[in-house]
């Protein structure tokens, strides 16, 4: 079976800076894959290329949605890519601050809805039913993520950890087959991180969603990932299972610097 995500020889230049250099990444159905690397390695940039925020300088990104043909998504707009089943969260939380928690999730349902202007104004039966369905679905997702007590709270009033989880809930509402999480544990306390850990595993198990995550919290990465990619200065310097990566001298060097290795 083809990989659900297959990025081949992706390069992204910002002027003279090569933020991502010839990266090959693939993810199979049901995998949890981590992308790690020191600050400024190009991880977020790689996410942005996959999700259409940037168009890669060279390279190709192909996806194979479950039960569908393989297709290239290179150069598509972010909203098209989301429609095709890739959803993401942001490193620096980007919630819709002045909307309620429920509405944030409802926005995630946007691309699975149909109502247009006429539907909005005339509010025919189909539109009403769709609207009710979306409210119910969104509430169900909040419940899964454990945010149902905050339903009508404005997103900006949520505690930090809850905001991170709301980002995940919002992404899940788009019905993705691949979820891209950019440092989901950043700023969380150890207890919250452990909960997150369980939540990610649960998402994979119950929703059949594969996951690519960027994370600096090594205990989280090592405990939940099936495979790990290590990026340094835009280059992928290692790939493999957690224990292989942990023992890889190139990785140790990238993280701890030359002197330590000597």
């Amino acid at each position: 079976m083809a990989a659900i995500l297959d990025a081949s020889q992706v390069t992204m230049d910002f002027g003279g800076l090569r933020a991502v250099n010839n990266a090959d990444v693939h993810i199979d159905q049901g995998e949890i894959v981590a992308l790690i690397g020191p600050n400024g390695a190009g991880k977020t940039t790689f996410f942005n290329v996959i999700t259409g925020v940037y168009k890669p300088t060279t390279g190709d990104v192909r996806i194979t949605a479950p039960g569908k043909e393989t297709e290239s998504i290179t150069g598509l707009k972010p909203n098209k890519i989301t429609e095709k089943g890739l959803a993401r969260t942001f490193q620096n939380i980007r919630l819709f601050q002045n909307m309620t928690v429920l509405e944030n999730v409802m926005i995630g349902r946007h691309c699975r809805m149909k109502a247009g202007i006429a539907g909005a104004v005339f509010r025919d039966r189909k539109t009403r039913e769709e609207e009710e369905q979306v409210v119910a679905d969104s509430y169900a997702i909040l419940k899964k993520i454990g945010l149902e007590t905050f339903v009508n709270e404005l997103a900006k009033n949520l505690p930090y950890g809850a905001q991170r989880r709301l980002e995940i809930a919002r992404a899940m509402a788009t019905e993705p087959f691949l979820l891209l999480l950019d440092e989901p544990a950043a700023g969380m306390n150890p207890h919250e991180t452990r909960e997150l850990d369980e939540m990610i595993l649960k998402i994979r198990a119950t929703e059949k969603i594969s996951i690519l995550l960027i994370e600096h919290d090594m205990s989280l990465v090592m405990s939940i990932s099936d495979r790990i990619y290590v990026m340094d200065y835009g280059l992928l310097i290692a790939e493999g299972q957690p224990k292989e990566v942990r023992a890889n001298p190139a990785v140790i060097k990238a993280y701890l610097g030359e002197e330590f290795n000597a």
């Binding site: 972010p78 959803a87 819709f96 909005a120």
Partner: protein, 409 residues
């Protein structure tokens, strides 16, 4: 309440004001008799006035910093206002209130003078304009400074179509609205790639271009002199006296206000309206959530233009005369103020904003010299003490019954 340091600052500010205003407020030169009159009392007034105002200002600022709980205690009146709000929010109270308001609005034109009815029609028209711009600025978050251009398109569509083709108000109403919307789409396509300040500058320029075009295409538009003799709205061709015609226009405008509120409310809580608000909150995130930004922007821009067009046709019909001077940048700014002062994204707020901004200056004609001064002062104060506007927008609260809560387990 007010610290000693703040009082000292107030005194310093007052001294500064006294020095600043000394030349104009104290010295008066009588050029005929070649003497200088020293009005020292003025200096005293300014000093004392400034100290009092400034201490009051510091008092307000301090109060703002208090926690909401403390604030309530420090200001007993505030607590009473809160309870009053609670009572007003009850449906039992609200329904009769709205009914009473409706009765007042219906009776108004029959008991007021023609002049007053005219002002009221203007205020209602600004409600429509405000609600229309609210779609663009309030919901979509697109800073639009050329709204008057679309208003002009509606107005001139009726004026020109009547002048050259003799078309009536009712035929021109949809045509005016649609042509404004069409122009909105045409302009929006290239312009909406810009964000924030850049969008503001380009829309501002567009507004001026339209006005200047209207001024200079004089062989068609009559140039700065405009077009006159535009008929008021007709009612199955019945001849009406001036006052009946005015009352009729009043009710038509009111009906359009109700229609606008109805449509905007529905839009607001729909898939489309939510996508506008999401776009306003964060463009990158909303695109990542599957919202087509180009479409969301264009639709809010075009629908805003549509309402400007409708209001424009009404404007022509009400004043029976149009010229480019009615569609200056100032007009766009006033409409924007209606939205911002009233409450960005809030329907009730915009309605109140329009009424306050249009009616207050009319009834405060005595102070007309200081109108702009007050206006600026109010805007600054609002931004500091009530940044959400008179009636800030509230998000919808969804309730879930028990069955629903359990079902989703």
């Amino acid at each position: 309440m007010v610290t000693l340091k703040q009082i000292r600052n107030s005194v310093l500010i007052a001294l500064w004001m006294m020095i600043l205003t000394f030349p104009i407020m104290v010295i008066k030169v009588n050029t005929i008799e070649n003497i200088v009159i020293w009005r020292w009392m003025n200096l005293l007034y300014i000093g004392v006035g400034t100290v009092i105002l400034s201490i009051f200002w510091f008092f307000l600022i301090n109060r703002r910093k208090l926690e909401p709980e403390e604030r309530k205690r420090s200001f007993a009146l505030k607590g009473k206002i809160e309870t009053l709000k609670g009572v007003l929010a009850k449906p039992v109270v609200q329904k009769p209130l709205y009914a009473a308001l409706l009765v007042i609005i219906i009776i108004f034109p029959f008991v007021s003078s023609l002049y007053q009815t005219g002002i009221m029609i203007t205020a209602l028209m600004y409600v429509i304009l405000g609600l229309g711009l609210n779609i663009v600025v309030g919901l979509g978050g697109l800073l639009h400074l050329g709204y008057a251009a679309f208003y002009a398109v509606g107005a001139y569509t009726y004026a020109l179509l009547h002048r050259y083709l003799g078309l009536s108000f009712w035929v021109c109403l949809p045509i005016g609205a649609l042509s404004a919307m069409l122009l909105g789409i045409l302009v929006g396509l290239p312009v909406l790639r810009l964000r924030g300040d850049y969008l503001a500058i380009v829309t501002l320029a567009f507004g001026e271009i339209v006005r200047i075009l209207l001024e200079n295409l004089s062989q068609y538009t009559g140039g700065p002199a405009g077009i006159s003799g535009i008929p008021r709205p007709s009612f199955f061709g019945i001849k009406m006296s001036l006052s009946t015609a005015m009352n009729y226009t009043y009710f038509l405008t009111f009906a359009l206000v109700l229609f606008t509120i109805f449509v905007v409310r529905r839009l607001e809580h729909s898939r489309l309206g939510r996508s506008w608000v999401a776009m306003r909150e964060d463009e990158v995130a909303s695109e990542a959530m599957g919202i087509d930004i180009t479409r969301a922007k264009l639709s809010s821009f075009a629908l805003g233009a549509l309402w400007a067009g409708l209001a424009g046709v009404f404007f022509s019909a009400k004043t029976t005369f149009v010229n480019p001077a009615s569609f200056t940048l100032w007009e766009s700014v006033i409409i924007l103020c209606v939205v911002v002062l009233g409450g960005i994204g809030s329907i009730k707020g915009v309605v109140l904003g329009a009424i306050v901004i249009i009616l207050l200056p009319e009834y405060l004609r005595a102070f007309s010299q200081y109108r702009m001064l007050f206006f600026g002062l109010i805007l600054v104060m609002m931004m500091i003490f009530r940044p959400g506007g008179f009636i800030p927008a509230k998000r919808r609260v969804y309730t879930f019954d028990k069955a629903q809560l359990e079902e989703s387990d």
